[in-house]
């Protein structure tokens, strides 16, 4: 079917045409192209990156069925995690999500138009603005959390309790190391281009 024989000069990868390489293939390629590489380190890092990407795809699919985007979900999450009465300023939100204040202004515009949050001036200090979760926003967050936990439980299904604990601890140790080295939570997560 796949019109084999296209002259295929050197196609070491069994995958006829260029599909995404498997993790194993990727690490092998790294070793071919870059000698000074610890394959063990690379396996951890590459698996981490791929896993996160897949998870984001999954979350995106779920939130989109709820009529919200992943970016909106992030904002809802930050507000809920701040605890009742679920209020934060645009500046705080921007710091927590790793965005510029300008981007937060735009997001809040959209989310307020959709009724997920309200925006009002702080009467005690009129420079500040207060973004507050609406009941509808909280409901959306709950719904998204229900779907997310199902996915996450499924993701970890093959791991025993001991393995889950171990994995959590190892990841937390790595996280601690980065957070100590990078105390400023800020820093755009995307590019810095």
């Amino acid at each position: 079917m796949r019109a084999i024989l296209r002259g295929m000069p050197e196609t070491p990868s069994p995958s006829g045409s260029a599909s995404e390489p498997s993790l194993e293939e990727q690490i092998a390629a790294y070793q071919r192209e870059f000698r000074d590489l610890d394959p063990q380190v690379e396996q951890v890092v590459s698996a981490l990156q791929r896993l996160n990407r897949r998870m984001n795809v999954a979350y995106g699919r779920q939130t989109s069925t709820l009529g919200i985007s992943n970016t909106e979900w992030e904002v809802l999450k930050a507000l809920v995690l701040s605890g009742a009465p679920y209020r934060l300023g645009p500046g705080d939100l921007a710091k927590r999500l790793g965005l510029t204040p300008a981007a937060m202004t735009h997001r809040i515009d959209r989310m307020a138009a959709e009724g997920l949050v309200t925006r009002e001036r702080d009467e005690n200090n009129r420079v500040r603005v207060i973004v507050e979760l609406t009941d509808q926003g909280r409901e959306q967050w709950l719904e998204a959390m229900r779907m997310a936990t199902v996915f996450e439980e499924d993701l970890l299904q093959d791991l025993t309790t001991v393995e889950r604990h171990l994995l959590g601890e190892l990841l937390t140790r790595l996280l601690r190391r980065v957070e100590d080295a990078q105390p400023d939570a800020g820093g755009r997560l995307s590019d810095l281009g």
Copy 2:
């Protein structure tokens, strides 16, 4: 020093100015706001997400010192990993990076203008386009890899060889589970909004 004194009243976090909560605070908040939550699962997932975010910030800082962006680095990576002669079509690149073909066209425009890649038509099939890494592009990738491996080695510094191996295995098992469930590598990694 862990879990001492949970008695702290209602405002455990110095409410002074809302800074990003720690991982522990975040998980505690999740449990307050969403009863049906397995804290062990949440620790793994939250640590994973935070870790990835921090790593992206670090990579972004590094690549920006080289005069390229993280997005450009992704393209260089895909080309190098494809092996000599470091050529791929825009469509393949788009699939591997989880972008739309349109976005790839734009990226290639920019990267070709900077001399990181060349773009030419495939003479055997003039519908196709071939994107090829230039020597300069390969050099930039090498330089970025050198910086990245230093960072990654530092990140894993506190883990023994056994722990590294274990972590790699656990992550790979999770990855396998998602990739089996989501065979299509595609899917925008960002929003789907």
